[in-house]
């Protein structure tokens, strides 16, 4: 039987992979995908905690699942807005390469 630690390690690994994607890839779309991976890693640990800590009534902690539901909703909104921003950015700069987007620097 898998233990809580199994799930948490998977979640941590998933988060680290997402972070690595954000840190190393220079295509802004891939960076965005890395962010999605990180969000889902958090979801996984939330669901795992809810399953491994049932309430007094013997049911899993559904509040955590509601939180995951909210995260998914917000993430969907975030993706829509983020991608719209990327499109607008691409229209202005003709690039999705983050190293070419450095006008904010000193």
């Amino acid at each position: 039987m898998p233990t809580l630690a199994h799930y948490l390690y998977v979640s941590g690994a998933l988060f680290s992979i997402g972070l690595l994607g954000v840190l190393l890839r220079r295509n802004i779309l891939i960076i965005f995908m890395g962010l999605e991976l990180m969000l889902n890693a958090a979801n996984l640990s939330l669901v795992a905690f809810s399953r491994f800590h049932p309430g007094l009534d013997g049911l899993p902690g559904y509040n955590a699942q509601v939180l995951v539901f909210f995260i998914i909703t917000v993430a969907a909104a975030e993706v829509a807005v983020g991608l719209a921003i990327i499109v607008a950015l691409f229209r202005a700069k003709q690039t999705v390469h983050v190293e070419d987007l450095d006008t904010l620097k000193f």
């Binding site: 809580l4 630690a5 909104a77 990327i86």
Partner: protein, 166 residues
């Protein structure tokens, strides 16, 4: 049996996640992201979170990924030309990754009850109904606010993607 299923789906999820980062073509990255999410949904099923698993597949693997693919096609992104790898970026990434892994390992190893197996829960639960009850009874206001957030996001996207009228 359950442990075997866990390992299959965990490895599937992580492998495709690595694929997202490694593939050079954005379309390949997106497709492996879909697979990673499907694997994650399967992990949710092993945790008896059927509703979340279904939502995961519908929203992430479905809607969100379609959006990603649309944008990739809209921007007409080809496989990236190889740019010289920056040593600083790799070193930085390595440091942060190592730091994170150490932190996660330390947190999990010091977590009480981390090695517990899944406790028994009532069999034959109606998962969706339970989430629905929690959602509408305990989190009604946040639920309404999330609705407004989606509306705002919709309007925001429309405004953002409108071409400049001149």
């Amino acid at each position: 049996m359950s442990l075997a299923l866990f390992w299959i789906f965990a490895i599937l999820t992580l492998l495709f996640a690595v694929g997202v980062v490694v593939f050079r073509s954005p379309v390949s990255s997106a497709m492996s992201l879909v697979m990673s999410f499907v694997g994650l949904a399967a992990l949710f099923v092993t945790l008896d979170a059927f509703f979340i698993a279904v939502v995961q597949v519908l929203v992430y693997a479905g809607a969100v990924m379609v959006l990603f693919l649309f944008i990739i096609m809209l921007l007409d992104l080809r496989t990236e030309e190889r740019r010289p790898v920056k040593l600083a970026a790799w070193a930085g990434g390595g440091i942060v990754l190592a730091g994170f892994l150490v932190a996660i390992a330390r947190v999990i190893s010091s977590l009480p009850g981390a090695t517990n197996t899944k406790p028994e829960i009532l069999p034959g639960l109606n998962d969706v109904a339970q989430v629905g009850v929690a959602l509408f009874r305990n989190f009604n206001l946040p639920f309404q606010i999330i609705g407004v957030l989606l509306l705002v996001a919709t309007i925001g996207v429309v405004v953002l993607s409108r071409r400049e009228l001149k």
